[in-house]
Symmetry: C2
Subunit: 714 residues, 2 copies
């Protein structure tokens, strides 16, 4: 099943250039260029702190907690990063704790022919039995060096394109020098949209073996409906072991295992790699998402869902066939509704407005700052406003992008077939953004794969998309004229679907391989339509790309301005690099009552029985046959106020004594809104409780040897 939790991590990974790490080795940051008096912490920006600027004063004031450098170094070095997830060393012999959903591919890869370990679960009988995960690695952050001055010194041009090239060049150079000198993996991380450049040096471990992973049904209990929610019962945990030279690696730094887990209201830290947040966006950008971008996205989801349900009404067997598609769209919709809910919260938006007004006043009070940064907000607002004036036209013309095809696979593929041919012929820099580099390769692979096309569904989905266009666009809009060709949306959809061959793999291959010439000469009606649309799309998309470039450039200036004024009192937006976030294990108001800070195995069996044991609330045999072995009062999942987002999956959550009390795997529904504006009144991080993992290892898997190792008894 497609899982939005996974998707959001993948998305984070694709959207962040920093995804395959790179960078270097000293630790004292260069003095930040602060122009005005620095000011204190603002809750709306959250608590994703970097390790070179831990907020010691704020922690001391808030919690009476003053960790020393050894505590911080241990936290940093015991925490590691998987390609898409976070993780931590949790034993003296190199055991690594992360999420089940982070090692699913490894489980798949190491499964014997006749068994699917993802389904059956796995616990090694001994070290010998541990299975190597092909291609998997982790990175451990050895050191951070502030290289802002060196980067800035190398960027001498004022023309943005030249400056960007200079920046890319110096960053590559710093990375290469670092890797040559240290043999480590190096990455130059841009924080505050260029306010700071930091060189991160990682030690990489390439030999990881799977030690324990429970069945997917228990790891993902409740499936898509329960995704992003709490109370929750997911044993979303797994153990790997790092090897060096074919021997278990003995880390100097690891988190000891907490047998009892967190107390209520205990101070906890999440140390992991949050992927992407938008907290430094301007109010104008947030309003655009709230009023234009997200509503359009939600409209597309609604049309796709309605099309599935329309097919289901005439064909009951379709319910099962479409279940995963429907769940997956509902899950994406859940996330977007969550983002938008945050932006619709007038209290949060007022805080944002108040902050922006205060910050603009501060800039205005310093002529030099005002000259350099004073125009940022107006420039962004004006570009957003202009984007809004033609967003609908642009959206309907760009149906080569799945999110703009209203759920129609045929629309998506015909758009892609035409565009990939045309764009591939251009130099990379001149292509439309979605068709550059890796993007184009992914699209090509998808086009050359067998893809089932349900013509009933397609007819309904395309008709719905055309009806929506008709409702949103002027009657003489060239897209409408071309797509409808004088027919009703239903007629046009029926004509297109019945006569196109885009659903046929051989036909698609002939176009992909035939390139521009093959596409240009095709008489397939959907290809003919896509060709017409492509011409009008290119103009409008280029105009949008230009405006988005203005916004990006001003966001970068804004990041620098914020850093100049507030320094590290405000944590930078997430960059899929190591952060430490503080929080409390605490209850919260929910559904008219209180959600407890923890739930127990009792609740797992309650939810299983309550839904009559039906998927996704079904349980593996082991868990139903042997439930009497378990102490049902053992805590299972728990929540805390730590600040997380996609990429934090698998993060250790630890107490003041550096003991790991659990592993982070999700947020509650209120946490989704935290992408833009952080609040901890109801938003919570959801973790697997350390006791639940022990109980499972001992009672369900008879894997006492692993439990003993976690408890330091071996």
């Amino acid at each position: 099943m497609t899982n939005a939790r996974l998707l959001s991590l993948v998305a984070c990974c694709f959207s962040i250039a920093a995804c395959s790490p790179s960078t270097v080795t000293t630790t004292s940051p260069a003095p930040a260029q602060i122009k005005l008096e620095p000011v204190g912490y603002r809750p709306q920006f959250g608590t994703m702190w970097t390790f070179d600027a831990p907020p010691l004063e704020y922690w001391k004031k808030t919690y009476g907690f003053s960790p020393d450098q050894a505590w911080l170094d241990n936290a940093r070095l015991a925490s590691i990063r998987l390609p898409n997830c976070s993780a931590a060393f949790v034993s003296a012999k190199g055991l690594i704790l992360t999420n089940h959903h982070c090692v699913r591919d490894c489980e798949d890869a190491v499964s014997p022919k006749d068994t699917n370990l993802v389904e059956t679960g796995y616990a090694a009988l001994s070290m010998r039995d541990e299975k190597k995960c092909p291609g998997l690695y982790v990175d451990q952050l050895e050191s951070i060096e502030n290289v802002t001055q060196r980067v800035n010194a190398a960027v001498t041009a004022t023309a943005p394109e030249v400056a960007a090239t200079q920046r890319t060049r110096i960053i590559s150079q710093i990375k290469k020098e670092c890797e040559d000198q240290t043999k480590l993996t190096c990455q130059v991380v841009s924080l505050y949209q260029g306010g700071i450049y930091s060189l991160y040096r990682y030690r990489r471990f390439n030999d990881l073996r799977i030690v324990f992973a429970p069945e997917e049904l228990i790891a993902d209990f409740g499936g898509d409906p329960d995704n992003f929610t709490y109370p929750r019962w997911n044993l979303d945990a797994a153990l790997l072991r790092a090897y060096e030279n074919d021997k278990p690696y003995a880390p100097k730094h690891y988190f000891r295992w907490s047998k009892s887990g967190p107390e209520e209201n205990e101070l906890l830290f999440v140390i992991g790699n949050p992927g992407s947040t938008g907290r430094l966006l301007t109010l104008a950008q947030m309003e655009f998402l709230r009023d234009v971008g997200y509503p359009a996205q939600l409209g597309g989801y609604a049309r796709a869902l309605e099309a599935y349900h329309a097919v289901e009404r005439t064909d009951p067997t379709a319910v099962r066939r479409y279940q995963n598609n429907v769940f997956s769209i509902e899950n994406s919709r859940k996330a977007v509704i969550g983002y938008r809910t945050g932006l619709m919260d007038s209290a949060s938006m007022s805080q944002k407005r108040a902050f922006e007004n205060e910050f603009r006043a501060r800039l205005a009070s310093d002529p030099k700052m005002q000259a350099e940064y004073g125009g940022i907000y107006d420039a962004v607002a004006s570009a957003q406003r202009e984007l809004g004036t033609f967003d609908a036209q642009r959206r309907y013309r760009s149906f080569g992008l799945p999110q703009n095809s209203g759920g129609s696979r045929l629309l998506t593929m015909s758009g892609q077939l035409v565009r990939i041919a045309k764009e591939s012929a251009l130099p990379d820099a001149q292509r439309l953004t979605a068709f550059r580099e890796a993007g184009a390769a992914t699209i090509r692979t998808a086009l050359l794969r067998e893809q089932p096309v349900d013509t009933t569904y397609e007819r309904i989905a395309i008709a719905a998309q055309l009806s929506a266009a008709k409702a949103e666009l002027q009657a003489d809009d060239p897209f409408l004229v071309a797509a409808l060709d004088g027919q009703t949306p239903e007629q046009a959809a029926a004509t297109l679907v019945s006569s196109t061959r885009v659903g046929d793999l051989a036909f698609r291959r002939s176009l992909v391989e035939g390139g521009e010439a093959a596409v240009a000469s095709s008489v397939d009606p959907m290809i003919v339509l896509a060709r017409k649309i492509d011409v009008m799309n290119r103009d409008i998309q280029s105009r949008a790309d230009r405006l988005n470039a203005i916004i990006t450039a001003n966001n970068e200036k804004l990041g620098r301005a914020l850093y100049a004024v507030y320094g590290t009192a405000l944590p930078p937006d997430a960059t899929f690099t190591l952060r430490i976030s503080d929080g409390l294990a605490s209850t919260y108001p929910m559904n008219g009552t209180i959600a407890p800070y923890k739930v127990t195995f009792y609740g797992l069996y309650d939810r299983w029985e309550s839904f009559n044991k039906q998927y996704p609330f079904s349980l593996p045999r082991r868990w139903t046959d042997h439930r009497d072995r378990i102490d049902l009062s053992t805590p299972f999942n728990f929540v805390s106020t730590n600040d997380i987002i996609g990429g934090n999956s698998g993060s250790p959550i630890v107490n003041r004594s550096s003991e790991v009390v659990g592993v982070v795997f999700d947020g509650n529904i209120e946490n989704v809104a935290n992408r833009f504006l952080f609040q901890s009144k109801t938003a919570r991080t959801v973790s697997v409780h350390s006791s639940a993992i022990l109980e499972t290892l001992i009672k369900m898997y008879n894997a006492n040897w692993i439990a003993d190792e976690l408890l330091g008894k071996q």
Copy 2:
């Protein structure tokens, strides 16, 4: 603990004149005076059907269910009414099922000296052991007769006051005749605000004995926080037995017990006595509540809560002392927020507006109807508008009413002391509404009871109330001038609290017993203030009373008009008389995921453990010591889409086969909003599952003899 669930029932009982039943004996309804074509069912009006107009067509169309008259008669006669609750016969020997919270007073009364049965729970060892509940009775609805024509024929006057007197007289006469002739208990029920008058004849049972009631901790598990919510684990059930001539009564009609309870999506009926709904109110009335009435009420709750919390910050021992007050206010606030949430829902309000427009158009299409009813909406809207112009002034001047005293007991009592003296001297009809008849007696009793007064709390609460008045009123408002007397709110509060003797019972008694003369000569500063306020209050309150009388009169006309146009296709507002509501046992979207239609004993122990066994999530000894006796997969509570409100507590919920599958005890948080506009997408009725009651009787109380009787084995 004060419990808003109980309060809402009490409120229903006091607010409805029909509370001590009365009325008579034939069954064919007189033809309704339908002027226009009748039109169909509108979901927003809900499903509280009367037994003389069951919606047979709608049930057949919606569920394919066509009960015969015998089914309906059995449902009516097996269902009975307690003074504040609903109930049902559930065995051949007269066992009665209702809620624990409906028999709490009886348990208290029959407790032996050294044991509190409310705490310990009780199950009779045999019939001999059943204990008589002093003063308790139930009424069984024998028959319904439409007496509209007789009532209307007797009302010949056009002047409203004279017409009201004529109506009261004929209603008393019908009731008396009925009781003389039949020896039954009779009641004339006004439905559709006077659209129909129905004579209800009841057989009364005066000898009720308690058979089984579990411990309050398990009946009310989760206490105030979980009140009005779901998922839920309340064993809020009890069994009584009806006796006649000291022998168990053998009812001809009773519901057989369902051993397995409801299936998911099964059709179920709730038969009970909903207290009060406001679905026939006009949009203008609903908007007034949403924009003026409820916000003011919420402001008062907020100030009272803030005052408690302010005391708690300086005195940690106060947390425990105020726990019940705080819970109780939070619970009332939960209800009001729920009501208001419904009124803030733009989709529901649009439906309401659409209905009103349609109905007004229908009236306008008939000149005779238009002449009689055309002015209703404008008259109500204009009166509401005028009420809005002086609502704040009226509210602050009427602090003899607890809801207008911002949580201050001293303000409430001083206002009451002055007014009760003055109003008691007037003929009843000339008194301010709150001080007539029963109301005055209740106030007098409260004044003559020892009432602890916390001066720290009072100072803060009064200062907050005066500050709120200062913010809302003009500076020269006579209330402000009198109350502040040139001081700040804090100074004025401190002066009043330190020098008044209103907290002293002996002082209050001297004023109550001394009457007007004693009050007039008092120099106590709070009494002096209350005297001044009383003068200005009387004028403004009389003006409000006059406007409210206009609204009431027009509401009555509206009820008649609606009935004339729609007949019984729309059920009448609730009147604490017998109704039957259809619904399905179904899951619903909640908290980003799905709430199951049922929960099990597993979940009870999960919630107990999750909150570390702390009150109100603690459990009685029996339930912790013997939990291994229980089959934890037994269903506990379940939800359905039936339409209920306060007064429905204890209602049987039965299936098509007339088996009782549970007992209704609450609604979920979304159901609270249904007071004005019914919706069944997320609103649910919450019931105790029939299996949970059996499991408890057998495994926890060893009361197999009772379980066997329920199952018809004895």
